[in-house]
Amino acid sequence: MSQDINITIIDREGVSHEIEAPTDMAMNLMEVVRSYELAPEGTIGVCGGMAMCASCQCYVLSDNELPEMQDEEEAMLAEAFYVKDNSRLGCQIQMTPEMEGLKVELAPES
């Protein structure tokens, strides 16, 4: 049996949500945000999760070891706005047991 993990997401209004995410449904962070409707539909995951729109940009606040950034994500972040050193695209962060305790803040809509 795979365990759910506990993660914290601060939405664009600054409200913190502690939620559980499944690790066995091949979900990424962007999809978790959508499944809990923590950002209005149409403002997140616009490209569907191909690292091609940056609408799921978030700032990683915890020190979980994250999957290494691939070229596509890096290139997309180089064209996105409001980018910080701890910016990642939520669609590139898979929900795995290693993400237990993950804490992120959604970047502003752009």
């Binding site: 209005p40 539909e41 616009v46 706005f81 409001y82 752009s110």
Partner: protein, 353 residues
């Protein structure tokens, strides 16, 4: 005034398939799209990416799907108003509609089908504090007429295909082209990247990386841009120019449709999914990703289904009381509006001795 039976707003896969289904009912379609080409997101965001859940296509590239849909609907001769955004809608006394685009093109139809996906694609504007003051005064987010830049000094910002392609194109038009990007790496078609490299070596494109435009100079009209160069020691420089073109991609916005008096929920248009995908305004339908109802899934294949049912309802509005039964294309063939006919080959009836 463009007249048609079903006016489709959005030329993505759902809108394009509507042309076919409407054609079977002898209804003519015209499509409006803010993008300069058909295909919607499939052409604009991911033309080279595969889709695996189109029935009977184990794998098809999004760009190829668009081409196939255009081919499938071709004999029904759809009209297109591309590169224009549907702005206003007016209901006439007879129940028909006039839809006017941002460029003033008027369309008249008894039925309107909104197949707008996530909305119309608008350019993403960089966060430069005074950029709004210079829009259309030297700052353009989209290149409409390249001739505007003849013998002018142009600064382009961005790291994707459009920044690369326009830098290449304008290097033969403008007197000076400067391309600015936050990184040394560009993401685009390999030959575009190589071409820019070649033009840079020849001194035809002035490349500044890693760098970012942080301010606009000028009084009434832009006279230059302020650039921060991210070297070991960050430096700031000013570049004199006549035009600044930031090309940071497009993002979809529901836009003017949101003000048409339609019931909106979760950035989508509420429709009657028990019947015909009609909105709260009779005669206006919403199909594909742009609509919402209990259990909605934003899938291309669901858009196809919605389009098919919607066309039946449109037929009833356009031909009140007129009899019709569903016919199978295999049985009845397809009669195009262009005079072509497709049909199944006749079986051979012959005795065997």
């Amino acid at each position: 005034m463009i007249k048609t039976d079903i006016l489709i707003i959005g030329a993505g896969p759902t809108g394009l398939f509507t042309v076919f289904e409407a054609g079977l009912l002898k209804l003519k379609c015209h499509l409006i799209d803010a993008l300069p080409q058909a295909g919607g997101q499939c052409s604009e965001i991911y033309p080279k990416k595969p889709i695996y859940d189109i029935p009977a296509y184990p794998e098809i590239l999004a760009g190829d799907l668009t081409e196939k849909l255009l081919e499938q609907g071709k004999q029904f001769e759809p009209g297109f108003t591309l590169g224009e955004r549907a702005e206003t809608i007016k209901k006439l006394e007879d129940g028909s509609f006039i839809v006017t685009t941002n460029k003033g093109t008027k369309h008249h139809a008894p039925v309107v089908a909104i197949a707008g996906g996530l909305g119309s694609f608008e350019p993403r504007k960089p966060l430069i504090h005074n950029i709004a003051n210079f829009e259309d005064k030297g700052v353009e987010y989209m290149i409409k007429d390249p001739e505007v830049y003849r013998n002018k000094r142009v600064v382009i910002a961005g790291g994707g295909d459009s920044a690369l392609d326009w830098s290449i194109f304008l290097s033969n038009v403008a007197s000076e082209v400067t391309l600015i990007h936050r990184r040394n790496e560009f993401r685009g078609a390999l030959d575009s990247v190589e071409k820019v490299q070649e033009l840079k070596n020849k001194g035809k494109i002035n490349l500044i990386t890693p760098a970012e435009v942080v301010g606009i100079l000028g009084d009434d009209h832009l006279t230059g841009v302020v650039v921060t160069k991210a070297d070991h020691i960050p430096t700031e420089l000013e570049i004199e120019c006549d035009h600044f073109i930031p090309l940071f991609g497009l993002s979809p916005k529901l836009g003017p449709i949101a003000n048409w008096g339609l019931e909106i929920e979760k950035n989508a248009i509420k429709v009657n999914n028990a019947l015909d995908y009609q909105t709260n305004i009779p005669g206006i339908f919403a199909i594909g990703d742009v609509n919402t109802y209990p259990g909605k899934l934003k899938l291309i294949l669901c858009g196809f289904h919605e389009a098919t049912l919607m066309c039946q309802a449109a037929y009833q509005i356009i031909n009140p009381g007129k009899r019709y039964v569903l016919k199978y294309t295999t049985v009845s063939g397809i009669d195009g509006f262009d005079g072509t006919r497709k049909e199944a080959p006749k079986a051979v009836v012959k005795s065997i001795d």
